[in-house]
Amino acid sequence: MINAMFFGINVILLIAVWNLMLKKSILDHYRDQLFDLRGEMREFFVQKDISLDSVAYKNLRDLLNGHLRFTETITFLKFIVLEVEIQKNKELQAYLKAEIDKRFSAEDPALKEFIVQVRDRAKVILLNYMINSSGAALLIAFAFAPAVIVWNLGRVLSYALRTGFSTLSDGLSQSLHEIYSALKFVFAVQAPIKKTVKSDLLEEYSFRFDSTCVALA
């Protein structure tokens, strides 16, 4: 009975630690990454002597500022619900894509590539935050981690059998990298989620809609 009593005390302490401490630190951790990304972006424009008045810089900076401001409001559940709604409407998807591409278009190929990199990195940071700040998603990650590891091991074996052992080292190095990612239990579920979720909506959410929804509220 004394063990059951301590179990009860520990459950309460765990809930308190998660809500009052760890979630705040997780938020700060990913916000730090967004701030670093914003600094790198400014550095790029300064080094390449591109005006900070340019449309590309303004839009990228506003995008990252939106991500920073609304990080906490972009929850995993809300995002999945929005994605499901948007993906039902092909016309709307096409509109979103066209709007976003217009906003972040650039003539210079190097600048264009840099813009894509910044956007992708910002999306990954936000997705990581959404998953790691959700207790439910973390529990699912822990639950699915063994399956993801077995799945990746299966991929290594299947690749080896298909390509023969002469190219095994190439396949192994690539697959070992993926197995390593899967072994980080907390991040094990992120790979399939990132592949299945089209995250253009993340940018619209931060850039425009959530700010207006806050104003409406």
């Binding site: 009860g8 409001t73 929005l82």
Partner: protein, 139 residues
């Protein structure tokens, strides 16, 4: 798009659809958060029930509160006490580090403003001086 005769925002069809989806998701989120809070509350109440059930044998067998408390202390493993002390110290340490971090962010912001003061475009994230979400935004 803004209309000078209308003190609001005029939306096109797609923007309206997205706004509808966002509001729908926010409404669903209210219910989900309610469910989450209920679940947390249920977990805490169940944990309290387990605690009191654990205390019951000691209080039941000996009505004298002091003696019952002594029996509980007897039953507690010294490693449990040490573990809770470690957790308490770690929590205090975390709090101190976090205060230091907020102080560092506040000072870094000042220097960053000076460095970027010449920028032709310097929009802000709108976070507080210590990097927290401002009131009125967020959960």
């Amino acid at each position: 798009m803004h209309n000078k005769f209308f003190r609001g925002v005029v939306l096109n069809k797609h923007e309206f659809e997205i706004r509808q989806a966002v509001v729908g998701a926010q409404k669903l989120e209210v219910w989900i958060n309610f469910g989450k809070h209920l679940t947390t509350l249920a977990a805490i109440l169940y944990a309290l029930k387990i605690i009191f059930d654990g205390l019951q044998p000691f209080i039941g067998q000996n009505p004298e509160a002091l003696l019952a408390f002594a029996k509980i202390i007897d039953a507690i493993n010294p490693s449990n006490i040490t573990s809770y002390m470690v957790a308490g110290v770690a929590a205090v340490g975390w709090n101190l580090e976090r205060k230091g971090k907020r102080r560092a962010i506040r000072q870094k912001n000042e220097y960053q403003k000076q460095v970027e003061s010449g920028d032709s475009y310097r929009s802000s994230s709108g976070l507080t001086k210590t990097g927290q979400t401002p009131k009125g935004v967020g959960k």
